[in-house]
């Protein structure tokens, strides 16, 4: 009788287990189907197409192996656009991280009206990239631009200065617009982490006589490292994907041309579709590799052993 009861319980457990497994599969299925249909299949198709010659001006789509990838090595314009992109990434990630953390710390100190301040800070991020770029185009304008106007008020000789006639200032000008747009995201991510730090840690530190900078470096910074890594990953990917700002402010100028603009020109101007696909894949891989450093850092900072 007992054995029969145990058998019955096992059967029920197995049935319940199978039911749970089925429920799990059903719950996971939508995202799996969506990811396969919208991410993995197009990705695999792009990889496959990048190994062919896809040019509507030429008949057929013959297999050409890695030719699209090897051609990149002798593409001088692509080389210049890679250099520009890495400069954007270096400037954007470092400035967004440093200023973002400091900005979050500052906002974290505000007790009244923080939500209004945050709403104002988030505004540039909420605006489309093109809109931001157009606003800054007016600011940078040589004649009646706001920037030249302010500098001229201070007696500096910038009345008709053309910021995009010099490569260094042009790269910085484009970076500033990108940072202006993406900085709020860093602030929001880091601020959320700061707000989750228990207050008693600061109280204990205060009792121990710690100064504000000491508390920042000994408590705040270590506890928001994970959030900073997430923000840096996001900043890196966004900087690799920089397009709108450079296109609106300086068009296809080689001085400021990022690699995404090069992809656009190869694909839609020159109709070299498979070369454009190969370039897109390389950008994705490089972007992922650089981001991987931050993800690896997050893993080691936040893993539970």
């Amino acid at each position: 009788m007992t054995a029969v009861a145990f058998q019955g319980t096992d059967a029920r457990r197995r049935a319940a287990g199978n039911g749970d497994a089925l429920l799990g599969v059903l719950m996971v299925a939508p995202i799996v189907v969506t990811m396969v249909a919208l991410v993995f299949f197009p990705l695999a198709q792009t990889v496959w197409d990048s190994l062919h010659r896809i040019n509507p001006m030429e008949p057929g789509t013959p297999f050409i192996g890695a030719a699209n990838y090897t051609n990149m090595l002798s593409d001088a314009q692509l080389g210049q656009s890679w250099v520009n992109t890495f400069i954007y990434v270096a400037i954007a990630v470092s400035v967004e991280t440093i200023v973002g953390v400091l900005g979050a710390a500052l906002i974290n100190q505000v007790r009244r009206g923080r939500q209004w301040l945050l709403a104002a800070v988030v505004l540039p991020w909420a605006l489309p990239g093109v809109v931001n770029a157009v606003i800054w185009m007016w600011i940078y304008q040589p004649g009646a631009g706001l920037l030249n106007g302010i500098l001229t008020v201070f007696g500096l000789p910038f009345e008709n200065h053309v910021w995009f006639n010099d490569r260094t200032s042009a790269l910085i000008a484009v970076s500033v617009v990108h940072i202006w747009r993406m900085l709020p995201l860093t602030i929001v991510v880091v601020l959320a982490a700061m707000q989750s730090i228990p207050g008693h840690l600061y109280e204990a530190a205060r009792i121990d006589g710690a100064s504000r900078p000491q508390m920042f470096f000994a408590i705040t910074l270590p506890l928001v490292r994970g959030a900073i890594a997430v923000a840096m990953t996001n900043a890196t990917v966004a900087a690799f994907n920089l397009f709108d700002e450079a296109w609106v402010l300086a068009g296809a100028s080689l001085d400021t041309r990022p690699v995404l603009t090069q992809i656009y020109l190869e694909t839609f101007q020159n109709l070299h579709f498979s070369y454009g696909m190969a370039l897109s894949l390389v950008v994705t891989i490089v972007s992922l590799l650089v981001s991987l450093v931050f993800v690896w850092r997050v893993y080691h900072t936040t893993r539970f052993e």
Binding site: E58, P142, G143, N160, V162, N165, R167, G251, S253, L254
Partner: protein, 418 residues
């Protein structure tokens, strides 16, 4: 009684026959098409066409630069971006090679093709791929008042006179930078250089596509050197390195800040002389393009209407192309700044005194040459991109004219072999 019966029968017959007659007059009535054109377009186009043909039009407009990516994206995917689309002269080589557009030879009558001289720019291997609707060629646009205020009574016919006049206008303090010349990495910078190359008495390539601009005594080389000299002499705004031709037209010439548009668009004369759109209305005129020799030259950059092969409404689309390029509509559409492509329409407007600077436009239109004798090549976009990138770099002082010419030739050679 008999009369009553007869009139009743006649009325009943008419009532039955009238819709059938209407259907004969508008055989495609009830159909619907999409049309994609550059902005701006006249607001009454769709309504007028529907009134005339019964075909409903969903007219979409985009800025000129945004149209091509939309077309290419849709066409490569095998879908129609619209039933009728913009078809620029510079796309002819690529789009013909891709076989994306319907040949219109069989549906456009020979008289129309003969009346539209620039139609041959859109004819590849005997296939007419687009019917030109806007007759864009280059003239020089000047602000007559600025010239008069500077004490200049005779308009320039040579490049030397042009430079001298610009210097005089600047010296008199009428405009700080008298010459409008785009130097940004955009198509407008390329087309200005092409015009100056023609003005210097040369061409871009020989019949075997060998570059003709590499030596310092070549026209292309001299044209680039002239552009740089104009910049160095303070006759061109240094900010032009970031300005498109449309920005110089709208924000500088139309506001009286520039006296001469080197690469002037005749279709803009209406805009410049309209007080609602311009601060220099009544002051603007076209002059024949000054050249080194004094013998004017120009080239055509017409835009056409084409029907993608994958359009599902080809009959109605062709009806729109015919209607839009008809003499009647071209004359009407001139009021919207679109210069007719039909010689007959141009003549009629000029005779009626409605064509601003009409005599100059008619005279210049007779000198219009194709930019490429062999037809627009498939690698034109790469060539144009190399040209405007080089111009931009020269203007910024990053490379010399010599290096610029070599860069253009190298990029062209690479594009030809791809």
């Amino acid at each position: 009684m008999r009369a009553l019966i007869l009139s009743t029968v006649a009325l009943a017959t008419l009532a039955v026959a009238a819709p059938a007659l209407a259907d004969d007059a508008k055989p495609l009535a009830g159909k619907s098409i999409t049309v994609l054109l550059p902005s701006p377009q006249a607001p009454n186009i769709a309504a007028d066409f529907e009134k005339d043909t019964g075909i409903h039009v969903d007219l979409q407009t985009l800025s000129w630069d945004d149209i091509r990516p939309k077309l290419v994206t849709a066409l490569i995917a095998g879908t129609a971006p619209a039933d009728v689309t913009e078809f620029d002269w510079s796309w002819t080589g690529q789009f013909a090679a891709a076989d994306w557009y319907l040949p219109l030879n069989d549906v456009i009558d020979k008289d129309t093709v003969a009346d539209i001289g620039v139609a041959k720019i859109f004819t590849v291997n005997g296939n007419l791929l687009g019917v030109p609707y806007t007759n864009d060629f280059r003239v020089m646009l000047v602000n007559k008042k600025h010239f008069a205020d500077a004490g200049i009574t005779k308009m320039p016919t040579t490049l030397d006179e042009l430079v001298a006049d610009a210097k005089q206008i600047k010296a008199k303090g009428i405009t700080q930078y008298p010459i409008g010349l785009p130097l940004s990495p955009t198509e407008g910078a390329s087309t200005s250089w092409y015009l100056l190359t023609k003005a210097e008495g040369g061409d871009l390539f020989d019949k075997d596509w060998k570059p003709l601009f590499l030596t310092p005594d070549s026209a292309g080389y001299k044209a680039m050197a002239l552009e740089l000299q104009l910049l160095k002499d303070g006759l061109v705004d240094p900010a032009s390195t970031g300005l498109k031709d449309s920005q110089i037209n709208d924000n500088y010439f139309a506001k009286g800040l520039v006296s001469i548009m080197i690469s002037g668009e005749p279709g803009r004369l209406g805009q410049f002389n309209d007080p609602k759109q311009s601060q220099v209305a009544g002051q603007v005129a076209a002059i024949l393009v000054p050249t080194a020799s004094g013998q004017t030259r120009s080239y055509g950059l017409p835009e056409a209407l084409g029907v993608p092969r994958v359009s599902q409404n080809q009959d109605a689309a062709i009806a729109f192309v015919k209607w839009f390029t008809s003499k009647h509509f071209q004359i009407e559409n001139y009021a919207n700044g679109v210069l007719p492509t039909r010689t007959s329409a141009l003549d009629e407007l000029n005779k009626a005194g409605k064509l601003a600077s009409g005599d100059v436009l008619v005279a210049q239109s007779k000198t219009v040459e194709p930019l490429f004798e062999q037809g627009t090549p498939t690698w034109y976009p790469q060539f144009s991109s190399a040209v405007n990138t080089a111009i931009n770099a020269v203007a910024k002082g990053q490379i010399t004219v010599d290096q610029a010419m070599k860069n253009i030739a190298d990029a062209t050679q690479k594009a030809m072999t791809q």
